[in-house]
Assembly symmetry: C2
Homo-oligomer: 366 residues x 2
C-alpha cells in the first residue's frame, strides 16, 4: 500500500471536432497521464488536462511539477494516508490539475488494492449519471444538428450551450433555435466562460427569459465583482461558479459575496479528496451543484462519473460527461459508451478502466 | 458486505464520579450499544449515548427508532452504499444519536471487512490526538485537585471548564483558581451549556479576560439570537457552537448569522459520514474546530479519536476524549489508556476494539 513511484506521461490526441468557447479553443488534447505505483505492484491512473487559459498550467508544467515536487513528496506514503498526501501537495500553491490527477490516481490505486470501485469508496449512491452535452460555438443550424445527433445517437436530452460571443445575439439565436428545434423536453443552460460583461449578460438573459433555461454559468468575470453581484441578484435561475471557484475557500468567497448561487465540481480540477470538500461545503451552504467537464478524455470522464454518482446531490442534475466523443481516439482499452442518455461506471475495482499500452506508446510525447 | 441485521442493546453503567453542568447531570450511562451484522459474519459496533436535555432522545427511544425504522431501512444494503444509508436514515427527522451510532457501526463493519482502520478509511492524517479533559461543576479547590490529578496521572494539559452557574462568580472563581493552581502552561476554555444570558456571559468573559482562555462555548442559548450575536461580536476568542449545530445547515445558519465563530464536532451526534460533512463545511468556511465529547463511553471515545485524528484541522486542538475515566466500568475487553496527554488509536481493523460479552451480559437491560 506504499507509493513507490509516480509517473507523469505527456501525450497528445487530436480532436475530431475542435471545441470553441469564449475563453479558448481546443484542437488537440495535450494531456498528462499520471500513474501511481505501489509496493504491491498496483498501478493507479488518472488524467491531467492542462488548461492554460483557465488555471495557467501547461502540459510541460504539469510533468515538471509532478516530477520535481509532487512525486518526491508522496513517495513512501501509504494509500491510506490521503490527508497527508493532500497536505503535502498543498504546500505548493496553484497547480490544481496536476494535484487532482495525482490524488485521483491514488484513489484508483486504493480501489484496485482493496478490490472495490472508487465510487463505492466515496459513497456509492448510484452507479450512473445522466449526461449533459456541451455545444461549442457554431452557427444555429450546426449546433441544432449536433444536439439532434447527440439526442438520436446517445439519448442525451440535456445541453450546455457555450455563449459569450459579440454581439450576444449570435448566442441568443442559437439558444432559441435549440429550443425551437428540440422542443420543451430538452434541458438547456448556458455557459459564458466570462465572455460577456455583466450588462451584456443581463440583456442576453432577459432576451432568453422565455426559453426555460435551467442555469447560467460564468457569464461575466468574477473579478468584475460588483457587476457580477448585480447580475446574479436579478437572475431567476442559479448562477453557477466554475473556474472562479477552484478551491473551497473560493466557493465561500464567491457565494457569500453574492457572486454565485451554484457550484460546478470538476474532478480534473479538485480530484476526489478536494471535490468531496467542495461537495460537502456546497451541500452545507444549501447550493445546487453540477458535475462539470474540463474537456476531459475518457479517463477524466470516468473520474467525473465515479465521483458524481457517489452522492445524491451531484446525481440530481445531468453531469457533463460527453466531451470525449469529440476526440479522434483515446487511451482506454475499451471505449466508454453513452447509452439512453446515461454513462455507467465500469464494474471493475478502482476506476474500472485500463490503459491500452499500444495507444499510449503511439500518442506519448516523451 | 450486505447488512443482514441491526441490534440496539440498551445498557446502563453507573458513573463513579457524576458529571454536573448547566444543562443537566449524568449519574448513570444509560446508553445503547448498536451492532451491525453483515452476510460475511462481520459485526460492526458503536455506542449511542442519548441526551434528552440536548437532543430529546431517550435510551428507549433510540432502541425503538432503530428497531422499528432504521434497521428495516438499511438491512439489505451493502456497506459501500453509505450515501444510500445516510439518505434513508435522514428520511426520519431528528434522532441524531441513533443515526450516528448506526452510521459508525457501518463504518466499523466496513473497516473490519476490508482489514483497515476506520481512521485510515476516513483520511489517515495521524494515529492519535492530544486529550482535553472536561471539568464539571464543583468547588474551586475540588476542580483544581481534579485537574492536577488528570495532569499528574494522564499528562493532560488542556481543560474545558463547565460554567453557566448563578452567580457567574461561582465559575469565574474556578477558572481563576485553575489558572493560578496549574500555571500558564495549561490550556483553558469554558463551556456554558447555555446557562448564562448574553449579558452575564459578556460580564463573565470580561472578568476572565486576564486568564488567557482559548475558546468560549455555548455560553448563552442560540435562540437568544440577537443577544448571542452581540456577545460573539465582542469576544476576542472563538465562540464554539456545539449543541446549536447538530447538522451542516445549522452550522451555516449559526455562523452566517454571526452567532458562532467555531464548531464542535461530536461523532456521537453526527457519526462519521455527517461529521465529515460538518468538517469539510467548517474548513471551507474557514472555522476552527474542536472534537467534542458527548459524555462518551470508551467506545464513543474511540469513535471520536478515530475521526479527529483522520484530519489535520481536527488534530490541531486537543480532543475531548476523557469522560470515560469517570465511569465505574465499560464494555470494552481492553480499557483505553490516556498516556502523556494523548489517546492513540488501536492497531486493529475498523475501530480496533471489542465488546466483552460478560460485561455486556452484566450491564444490558433488555
Amino acid at each position: 500500500m506504499k507509493i513507490t513511484a509516480v509517473e507523469a506521461i505527456p501525450y497528445a490526441i487530436p480532436y475530431a471536432k475542435p471545441l470553441k468557447f469564449a475563453s479558448g479553443e481546443v484542437r488537440v488534447a495535450e494531456h498528462v497521464l499520471v500513474r501511481v505505483h505501489t509496493d504491491d505492484g498496483v498501478v493507479g491512473i488518472a488524467d491531467a488536462p492542462p488548461r492554460p487559459f483557465t488555471y495557467g498550467e501547461t502540459q510541460a508544467g504539469v510533468v515538471a511539477v509532478i516530477d520535481s515536487l509532487f512525486a518526491p513528496a508522496v513517495v513512501g506514503l501509504g494509500l491510506m494516508e490521503r490527508e497527508q498526501i493532500h497536505a503535502r501537495l498543498n504546500r505548493t500553491v496553484a497547480n490544481p490539475v496536476a494535484k487532482a490527477a495525482l490524488d485521483m490516481a491514488v484513489w484508483d490505486a486504493l480501489g484496485r488494492t482493496l478490490g472495490y470501485q472508487v465510487n463505492e469508496l466515496l459513497g456509492g449512491w448510484s452507479d450512473r449519471m445522466r449526461v449533459s452535452h456541451m455545444l461549442g460555438f457554431d452557427s444555429p443550424a450546426a449546433m441544432v444538428a449536433e444536439a439532434e445527433r447527440m439526442r438520436d445517437t446517445h439519448g442525451i436530452t440535456t445541453f450546455k450551450v457555450k455563449v459569450g460571443r459579440h454581439p450576444h445575439t449570435l448566442d441568443t439565436a442559437v439558444v432559441r433555435a435549440l429550443r425551437e428545434g428540440l422542443g420543451e423536453e430538452v434541458e438547456l443552460y448556458v455557459d459564458g466562460n466570462r465572455g460577456w460583461s455583466a450588462s451584456e449578460s443581463a440583456r442576453a438573459m432577459r432576451e432568453m427569459s422565455d426559453l426555460g433555461l435551467t442555469f447560467a454559468e460564468e457569464l461575466c468575470p468574477a473579478d468584475d465583482v460588483l457587476g457580477r453581484r448585480w447580475l446574479v441578484q436579478q437572475l431567476d435561475v442559479p448562477f453557477i461558479a466554475d473556474e472562479s471557484v477552484p478551491t473551497p475557500a473560493d466557493v465561500t468567497r464567491e457565494v457569500l459575496g453574492g457572486s454565485a448561487t451554484a457550484v460546478s465540481i470538476k474532478t480534473s480540477r479538485t480530484g476526489f479528496t478536494q471535490s468531496r470538500r467542495v461537495h460537502h461545503l456546497a451541500e452545507g451552504l444549501g447550493l445546487e451543484v453540477v458535475m462539470g467537464n474540463q474537456i476531459d478524455s475518457q479517463l477524466g470522464s470516468v473520474c467525473t462519473v465515479s465521483f458524481g454518482a457517489a452522492f445524491e446531490l451531484t446525481s440530481r442534475r445531468a453531469g457533463e460527461l460527453s466531451n470525449f466523443l469529440d476526440m479522434s481516439d483515446d487511451l482506454l482499452t475499451e471505449p466508454l459508451e453513452i447509452r439512453d442518455g446515461e454513462l455507467t461506471i465500469r464494474p471493475g475495482a478502482g476506476l474500472g478502466v485500463e490503459i491500452d499500452p499500444d495507444k499510449l506508446a503511439h500518442y506519448r510525447q516523451d
